[in-house]
Structure formats: structure tokens, C-alpha cells
């Protein structure tokens, strides 16, 4: 005990202070990452259009081919995202120079679907590693990830009895105990998800290494490992072969019913290339096998189904991180583990403030103000983020469908409502801020199914009748989340009830201390 206590002494300030500062970031990263597990389902909710029943890949591609020839015969390239198990959308896109356009099609009728422009669930997965600030955000997330690993090490050093208590089922109803118990329960998941996430971000951020290895010839990793099938641009035109005809031959190379994505470069030109990419939702190694055809003669240019061993290892980390390899069972496992990990981080943040409350009466004004500001930030980060995420759903339904830059406007709704929550948290006493923001979060999440049925044709009962389980599940989960938040807010209200506000400020009974 004595020998290791110096380690504990050294790591305690780290776990407290780095845990607080990076805990804010980590809660945001973990919670939005958890929502990103159901990226496709959230996107489906956010584009509530009636789609025809499942169409065959052949029919889908026929519709896409026809539409692209009509809309963009002169484009530089076409892309077709085929309907998949978890995302029924058939999406076509084309680029002319730097201008990119995307449309969704109904696979059966071939008509363009009037879907609201939105980033959908993709926003959450981008936000969870970029924080809406590009490379700077990626570095912040990466450093936070390293701090997460260090927080795990220091947490275990500080509370060595945690596993003993965990397996003995010895937990108490306070924040520290919840932090420790959920930490022990999620430890394997958090180590896995953080480490795999870091191997992804470091790979793109450590530009010094490829610089040293390859110098100016560096053109990105996939130039090194993927066989190049693209051809230099030409102007001479030649008719493009029907894409559905190539589909069956691509399936012969890559497997029937496995085509996820198709890319056509220089359609309508003599050097047209059609590349078929295999889906990756049934493999741990998240890298798409591909087969490329001459767009004019239809000759197979080549296919790549095997990759360098190092690449395979790295893409396995990606596959483990995104958790798309095992269908819904794995997705739910990741979702629940992600929620629990977020709660673990949140409990640690709350414990920071709760622990310091009893001491505050004895402290100087400045220190009291600092601790109060820290707690306000806690409120804004935890409850405020819950509100901002729900507001993103509300923005999706309430912004006019024809608004210019609509997808950006939805993101603005998210950011502005979050900023408003920070202002609110700083303006109110922490107790009030917690109660009010948690109540608002409960209303917003719980109200999502109501909002959906009032503003779209995809309300719960209609979707239920249509057999749209995904739409119903998103509604149901939002309601469940809202009810859970309402429960927490109610408990908080009961504890605060009957006590004057100023007394609450110094009360150590406010949510039992650890």
C-alpha cells in the first residue's frame, strides 16, 4: 500500500484535472459516437419518404443508369450508392469539375424522391471525430483519446479495489460508485473503441511519417495499396455500356448481391471506367474489394480482392471501430456500451463538482466562482449536448424543406442551441441549470415521436402499418430516452423541493455525495 501510494499521489491530479478538461470533450465524442452507431437509421428518420418495397440490385441500377444518362450525360464522374440492408436509399451523384450533386431515387419507379436536404446521422459520426472544426477538431479528439487511455490507467491505479467491488456486486447509490462500476463494466469496450479510434486518426494526422518515408511522392495511402484502374481524361466520346449488364459480371467477381457502390469515371467517353465496390457490412476488415470494367467495351480491367497484410490489420481496426460487421446485434451492443461509457464519463464529471461542494463554503470568492463556472460547463456539456442533439432532430423536421443550404442550417440549429445552453448554464445556479436543462432535454427527446407524426407522413402508427421498423425504432428510442431523462429530472426536483435556492448552493445533500 505504502509503496504504490506515490503512484496514486502522482496520478490523482491527472485523473482529476485532465479528467475534467478532457472529460468534457470525451463525453461529447462518446455520446455523438454512440448516436453514430445508428447513423443509417437516423438518416432514414430524417428523410421520411415513402420508398417502394425492396427492389433487386438489377432494378435499382437500371433506374440509376437511366436517370444519370438523362441528368448528367456530360459529367466527369457518376456515383451510385446501392440500397443496403441497413440503408434502403438509392443515391445517385455526379460531379462536374468541383460541383457535386446528389439525388435519391425510387428504385422501382426511377423517379427522383423529394427528400429534405440533410446530413442525417452522418453529422453525428463526423462530429464525433472532427467536432465541426476539421483538422483541429481531429487533433483535439485524438489527444482526448490518448487522455482517455491515460485516465483508464490512472483510474485503475487510484481505485484498485474497483474490480474487486465490481465482481462482488458492491455498489452504492452515489456518483463515485456509479463512475467506478460503469467504468469497470465498460473497460474492455472503452479500451477497444478508443485504441481502434486512435489508430484511425493517427494514421491520417501523423503526416510526418509518410513525409519521411515517401517525401514529395506521397499521394495518400491508397495510391500505394489499391490497384489503379482510372484512366487519363479524353474528349472523344463513345457510348457507355448499360450498367446493369456489367452488374452480373461484377457480381461474378465479388459475390452475388454484394455490390454496395458503383463509380463511373468519364461516362460517355472512350476512356470510361466502371468500378464496382463490394459492401463491407459483413466483414471485419472494412475495405471494399473492387472490380473495374472498360465502360465502352465492357472488358474486365481487373479486380482487387486481397490486400497487403498491414493494410488488412489497419482496416480491421477501422472495422472494429465502426462496428458494422455484425448487423443489428453488434450495433445494439455498441450502442448500449457507448451509452454506458458516456454515462461513466458524465458521472465522473458530476462527481468532480459534487465532491467539491461541501468545501466551497470555506473557500475564497474567486475559487468559489471558478468551481461554479466549472459546474456550469458540466451542465452545458452534458445536459446541453443532449438538448443540442435532440434540437438537431427538431430542426430536421421544422426547417422549411426548400431552405437553401438546409443541411448546414440543421447543423446551425445544433450549434446554436448548444451555445444557448452554455449561456443558460452560466446564468443560472448549477442546481437550477441541471433541473431546467434536463427537463428540456426530456421534453425534446420525448417529443420526437409527436413531432414526427405531426410533421411527416411517417408517424409511428403509419410507419407501423407500413412495416417500417426502423422509423418506429428511432421514435421509440427517442421516447425511451426522453422518459429516462424525465425520471432523472424528477428525482432532482424532489431532492431540491422545499429548499431555498441559496441553501442549495452549499448543500452537500444535493444528489448524494460520494
Amino acid at each position: 500500500m505504502k509503496r504504490t501510494s506515490t503512484w496514486q499521489q502522482a496520478l490523482r491530479p491527472f485523473h482529476t484535472w485532465a479528467g475534467l478538461i478532457f472529460g468534457w470533450l470525451l463525453f461529447v465524442i462518446f455520446f455523438t459516437g454512440t448516436l453514430a452507431v445508428f447513423e443509417e437509421e437516423i438518416t432514414h428518420w430524417m428523410q421520411p419518404v415513402g420508398r417502394a418495397e425492396t427492389v433487386t440490385p438489377h432494378e435499382a441500377l437500371e433506374a440509376a443508369d437511366k436517370k444519370l444518362r438523362l441528368l448528367a450525360p456530360q459529367a466527369d464522374s457518376w456515383t451510385i450508392a446501392m440500397p443496403q440492408a441497413r440503408s434502403q436509399a438509392l443515391e445517385i451523384g455526379w460531379t462536374n469539375g468541383k460541383i457535386k450533386q446528389e439525388k435519391q431515387l425510387d428504385g422501382a419507379s426511377g423517379k427522383i424522391l423529394a427528400v429534405p436536404e440533410t446530413d442525417g446521422g452522418r453529422f453525428f459520426s463526423l462530429f464525433h471525430f472532427q467536432l465541426h472544426s476539421g483538422k483541429i477538431g481531429e487533433w483535439l479528439v485524438t489527444i482526448s483519446g490518448v487522455m482517455m487511455l491515460a485516465a483508464l490507467v490512472s483510474g485503475i491505479v487510484l481505485h484498485r479495489r474497483v474490480f474487486h467491488d465490481f465482481f462482488a456486486g458492491r455498489w452504492r447509490p452515489n456518483w463515485l460508485s456509479f463512475h467506478l462500476m460503469s467504468g469497470a463494466a465498460t473497460l474492455p469496450f472503452v479500451v477497444m473503441i478508443t485504441y481502434t479510434g486512435l489508430t484511425i486518426t493517427f494514421f491520417s494526422l501523423l503526416t510526418a511519417v509518410p513525409q519521411v518515408l515517401y517525401g514529395n511522392q506521397w499521394q495518400g495511402a491508397y495510391r500505394l495499396i489499391a490497384q489503379p484502374f482510372d484512366r487519363p481524361p479524353v474528349t472523344a466520346s463513345a457510348p457507355l455500356r448499360p450498367l446493369p449488364e456489367l452488374l452480373s459480371r461484377a457480381e461474378a467477381e465479388l459475390g452475388a448481391g454484394t455490390i454496395g457502390f458503383i463509380r463511373v469515371t468519364q461516362p460517355g467517353k472512350t476512356q470510361a471506367v466502371v468500378t464496382f465496390y463490394r459492401k463491407v457490412d459483413d466483414t471485419l476488415v472494412a475495405i471494399a474489394s473492387r472490380a473495374a470494367f472498360d465502360g465502352v467495351s465492357g472488358e474486365l480491367l481487373g479486380s482487387q480482392t486481397s490486400w497487403n497484410e498491414r493494410v488488412t490489420w489497419h482496416r480491421m481496426m477501422v472495422g472494429l471501430h465502426i462496428g458494422k460487421f455484425g448487423g443489428y446485434p453488434v450495433a445494439w451492443l455498441y450502442f448500449i456500451a457507448g451509452l454506458l461509457s458516456s454515462a461513466m464519463i458524465a458521472a465522473g464529471l458530476v462527481f468532480f463538482s459534487v465532491k467539491r461542494r461541501p468545501q466551497q463554503a470555506r473557500q475564497g470568492t474567486i475559487l468559489r466562482m471558478v468551481y461554479r463556472a466549472l459546474e456550469s460547463i458540466n451542465v452545458a456539456v452534458i445536459a446541453g449536448l443532449l438538448i443540442a442533439c435532440a434540437a438537431y432532430f427538431w430542426g430536421n423536421r421544422l426547417l422549411p424543406a426548400t431552405l437553401a443550404h438546409r443541411a448546414d442550417a440543421e447543423v446551425q440549429v445544433f450549434l446554436i442551441s448548444w451555445a444557448a445552453m452554455l449561456v443558460h448554464a452560466l446564468a443560472r445556479t448549477p442546481q437550477r441549470a441541471w433541473l431546467e436543462q434536463l427537463s428540456l432535454a426530456a421534453v425534446l427527446w420525448g417529443g420526437i415521436p409527436v413531432l414526427n407524426s405531426l410533421t411527416s407522413q411517417a408517424g409511428f402508427s403509419r410507419s407501423w402499418q407500413r412495416g417500417d421498423g426502423v422509423m418506429c425504432s428511432v421514435d421509440a428510442m427517442a421516447l425511451l430516452g426522453g422518459m429516462a431523462l424525465a425520471g432523472i429530472a424528477w428525482r432532482l426536483y424532489r431532492r431540491n423541493a422545499g429548499r431555498p435556492v441559496e441553501q442549495l448552493g452549499g448543500s452537500k445533500n444535493w444528489l448524494r455525495t460520494g
Binding site: I143, G145, V146, A150, V153, L198, F202, L206, V311, M317
Partner: protein
């Protein structure tokens, strides 16, 4: 206890009083974040420059090693006796590694 800024030590004490620990902690967090970043980039770049392994192994290997190197630097920043010693230790690795990268580029 404090190896940093020895000339101003007494003034720091007078100014900070019991907040000494907080300043130390702040310096250590800075060492962990900034020093850890510099250490990770410089060691991995030096390794990539000098290790005689296939380039692809080095390229992808760094992605696997980087989190562990950074983690070690962060833990060192807090396990070192003082914040000053933490910085010294980090610099003791970063500077030679930068030299190695520079030598390889010549």
C-alpha cells in the same frame, strides 16, 4: 519540490501560495499534451527514417504504435518527480529524435 524556474521560485510561492499544486498540475498537463504530441511525432518520424523495415510496415506500424507512445509520454508527465523534470525527460527524447530525422533528410 519545484525544479522549474528556480530563480523565481520564491516569487511563485508567494504569489501562488497553496495554489502551487495547481500550477504544477497545469504544467504537467501542458507537458502531457504538447510534449506528448512532440514526442510522438518525433520518435515515430525518427523510427520511420532509420529503421530498416519495409516502408508499408513502418507506415501502418506507426498508426498502431502512436497511441501507446503518446500514452507513455502522458503518464511520464505525471509520474516524473516535478513538472520541470517531466519536461526535461521529454526534451531528452524529442531533441535527439528531431536530430535523427534531420540527419536522415540530409
Amino acid at each position: 519540490m519545484n525544479g522549474m524556474l528556480p530563480k523565481h521560485k520564491h516569487r511563485l510561492w508567494a504569489w501562488a501560495g497553496s495554489r502551487e499544486l495547481h500550477i504544477q498540475t497545469g504544467m504537467r498537463i501542458a507537458a502531457a499534451v504538447i510534449g506528448g504530441y512532440a514526442l510522438t511525432v518525433s520518435t515515430l518520424a525518427a523510427g520511420a527514417a532509420w529503421l530498416p523495415w519495409p516502408k508499408l510496415d513502418l507506415l501502418f506500424g506507426t498508426a498502431f504504435l502512436a497511441p501507446l507512445v503518446y500514452l507513455a509520454a502522458v503518464l511520464w508527465a505525471f509520474l516524473a518527480p516535478t513538472a520541470g523534470r517531466a519536461w526535461q525527460g521529454l526534451a531528452g527524447v524529442i531533441i535527439p529524435c528531431c536530430l535523427l530525422v534531420w540527419l536522415a533528410g540530409r
